[in-house]
């Protein structure tokens, strides 16, 4: 059978980086093809060559038997190649229907035919097996619906090849199931699907073929059955993976006075009943479903939101927190939304890494050049892949941006660091590095509050675990195992 897509010998260089060095990639019709690799392995570049964002320096692309060379995403779309990216490009204030047909509105003599717009939107959604109120503004829908809307838009152009770039990064369990059902349906309709993800489970749930890239070269391509988990991870990071179940030593008890203590802390319509004590050398895992109030809790602890009930003690005092005051008290927070709440896209990687240390010093006392050299040290320590720290951070891959943001806080040397989904959208190797780092710093006496939707991460790193359900903290997990936490999330604390 002829391949739907055949990319061969793709080469693409950027100043200082060889992003792709002769990569071959094939997708069959009716196949879900997982594309895996670490940050900077070349996945995004390959997809951008495919969708016409970049022009390849060398190599051939064959689609449905004909040689193609898309020069813009519009051209690729017209050929039948559609992509849905991790960071969604929807217009939040427009309706679902408008988002689906935007740029291709059915026109009549009196302008846009709105009834036809709705009809087409419903048609596109029904291909996904969905029935939605298409007049609702996209911004008011859940992340899952937003993602499905983006997919519906990609399909509305009669796509034969669909690229999904980390579609599940912001979805919770049920929503992932719904998405997979859609993916299965599309597969039956004969679409080829390129699936990029960092979640290994998903590969084994839906992929028919796995291709692994590393440092811009093709490492392996095979069926998931022929490439078990350990082999996949080894292919991705190029070294033996550390054992996944190496939980931290939790022997030592709390030491000294608590660094942070919350009593019945809460904010109306946000989250309530927050109770915990956090000592030096502890990692408090906050477990709960998406929407259970995990991020909201961290926002209270860092002074982004003001509590209106209960009390929060930091170092024994009970100040009214703002992010600035929290920082001065030695609290830091790595926010979940890297793009909107984290990076300064046009500033250099170095400025992005040093800014917290600078804010702590105040605006008058500029950090000396020697202090800025710390950024180079952190670049080595966290293995941030960039040839030049003085280039804008927007040019880095998501995982490297995340490492730079983590470095931002580490340079400021907080005593308590709040981590909100620190591994979101980053690859396996970087995950191990980040949790290894957390473990080392914990041993040196730092304390963490960790939010993660991956229970295995909570179990791996936490010294104690608090459960959130329906925007309330319902108690501590009796023991730190995935089963105990899951049953506590499901029914505990009643």
């Amino acid at each position: 059978m002829a391949s739907l897509l055949r990319m061969s010998g793709i080469v693409k260089s950027f100043p200082g980086v060889k992003a792709l060095q002769g990569v071959d990639f094939e997708v069959q019709a009716g196949q879900v093809h997982a594309l895996m690799g670490e940050n900077g392995a070349g996945k995004s570049t390959l997809l951008k060559v495919l969708t016409g964002v970049y022009a390849a320096d060398a190599g051939e692309i064959e689609f449905e038997g004909a040689a193609i060379r898309p020069r813009s995403p519009q051209e690729a779309t017209a050929l039948g190649i559609s992509a849905v990216y991790q960071e969604l490009s929807l217009a939040p204030n427009l309706s679902i229907a408008e988002n689906i047909v935007i740029g291709r509105e059915p026109m009549g003599p009196l302008g846009i035919r709105w009834s036809a717009v709705r009809e087409r939107a419903r048609g596109a959604l029904s291909r996904l097996g969905l029935e939605l109120d298409v007049d609702r503004p996209v911004g008011s829908c859940s992340p899952a619906i937003q993602h499905l809307t983006a997919i519906a838009r990609a399909l509305d152009v009669d796509a034969r090849l669909l690229v999904l770039d980390e579609p599940t990064a912001s979805l919770d369990g049920d929503e992932v199931d719904a998405l997979f059902e859609v993916v299965g349906r599309l597969k039956e309709q004969g679409l080829g699907i390129v699936y990029v993800t960092h979640f290994l489970d998903e590969v084994y749930r839906i992929a028919d073929q796995v291709t692994v890239l590393r440092n811009g070269t093709l490492v392996a391509t095979d069926t998931p059955v022929a490439m078990p988990r350990r082999a996949l991870v080894a292919n991705m990071i190029g070294r033996e993976a550390p054992p996944e179940d190496a939980a931290v030593a939790r022997s030592q008890g709390p030491q000294g006075a608590p660094l942070m203590e919350a009593q019945d802390l809460g904010k109306r319509q946000s989250v309530g009943d927050i109770n915990f004590k956090l000592h030096s050398g502890e990692v408090l895992g906050l477990a709960g479903l998406l929407g259970s109030g995990r991020t909201e809790t961290l926002r209270l602890l860092f002074g982004v939101d003001r509590p209106n009930s209960g009390s929060l003690h930091v170092h024994g005092g009970a100040p009214t927190l703002t992010p600035r005051r929290a920082m001065n008290l030695g609290v830091g927070m790595l926010a979940e939304e890297r793009k909107t709440d984290g990076i300064f896209p046009n500033l250099s990687v170095r400025d992005n890494m040093m800014i917290v240390a600078q804010v702590k010093r105040g605006w008058l006392a500029r950090l000396p050049r020697s202090a800025y050299a710390q950024a180079d040290g952190k670049k080595e320590e966290l293995r941030i892949a960039t040839p030049d720290l003085d280039r804008p951070i927007a040019g880095l891959s998501g995982g490297n941006q995340q490492k730079a943001l983590l470095a931002r806080w580490l340079i400021a040397q907080p005593q308590v660091l709040l981590l909100d989904e620190p591994t979101r959208g980053i690859d396996v190797g970087a995950k191990f590095e980040i949790f290894g780092l957390v473990e080392r710093l914990r041993e040196q006496g730092m304390a963490f509050v960790l939010v993660s939707s991956e229970l295995s991460e909570i179990v791996h790193s936490s010294t104690k675990v608090a459960i959130l359900r329906d925007r309330r903290m319902v108690g501590d997990a009796p023991e730190i195992t995935e089963e105990a936490i899951m049953s506590q999330i499901a029914e505990g604390g009643e």
């Binding site: 992010p323 709440d341 300064f344 896209p345 046009n346 702590k360 605006w363 006392a365 500029r366 003085d390």
Partner: protein
Amino acid sequence: MKAYPWRYSLALLGLVLLFNAIFTPGFLAIEIRDGRLFGSLIDIFNRATPAALLALGMALVIATAGVDLSVGAIMAISGAVAAGLVVQPPDFLLHGMGVQPVAVAMSLAVLAGAVCGLFNGVLIGFFRIQPVVATLLLMIAGRGVAQLLTNGQIITVPGDDFAALAIGTTLGLPNPIWILAAMALFFGALTRLTAFGLFVEASGDNPTAAHYVGINGKSLRLAVYTLSGLCAGVAGIIAASNIKAADANNAGLYLELDAILAVAVGGTAMTGGKFSLVGALIGAVLMQAVTTTILTRGIGTEVTLIIKALVVVAVCLLQSPSFHETLRRRRTA
């Protein structure tokens, strides 16, 4: 290698000067008469000072993703305050103090400019009014305030003391050039020797992220609009001193737009983030160089504005990455 955002405007400025050097006899000549330097180059710099001063403050404002439309009107207020205080001095100016009344009047006028800027800053920083709307208020109302201060008349100031600021020279160079140099050094030191510039850029680049790292966006906005008002205050007294009068209707008219263009031409994006003071200065000088060229070449003044617009379009195109991308694709295709 660092890519300076103002490289294209500097290159274009070089071209304009080169054009003049070839086609206008004596353009580059600078002669000393009565201990003072004369020449077209000096003239360009001297005339560029009001817009260049505004551009310094405007660059910071634009870096916070804002804009200050009121600076022209603030110039009128500042000029009116200075002229008014000199012509009808209140008691405290006449008696005691032992200082030149003109100097005191001018200082108060600059202060008035800063207070106007502070007003903008409060509206924008604390009441979250959009910068265009907030400064549009003062752009319109400011001229009204200036007219109230001058009773709707043009206040002419007799004597040479008042004119000395703009017309006098120090060490051979016109005073406005020295004032601009001092202000540029002050702004440069403020933004690059302290972390103020970094915080302004961070806050303009991503306000939410800036909040999360503890940068106080309110005070920052308060500061940049006050600084912009301060610049306008200084530009206002120079403009008034230059014509020995306060003209509430015409002082600094449309100069806010020249300042915005100078900043844009200097490579600072209107969307906020990175800014370049050097670029803003080059932009202001480029604009004036084009105007002076048109005048000295005897090309009709009616085409001045159109040629200026073409220069702006040229620089903006050269700065646009997508324009370069298009050119590149043309070449490879």
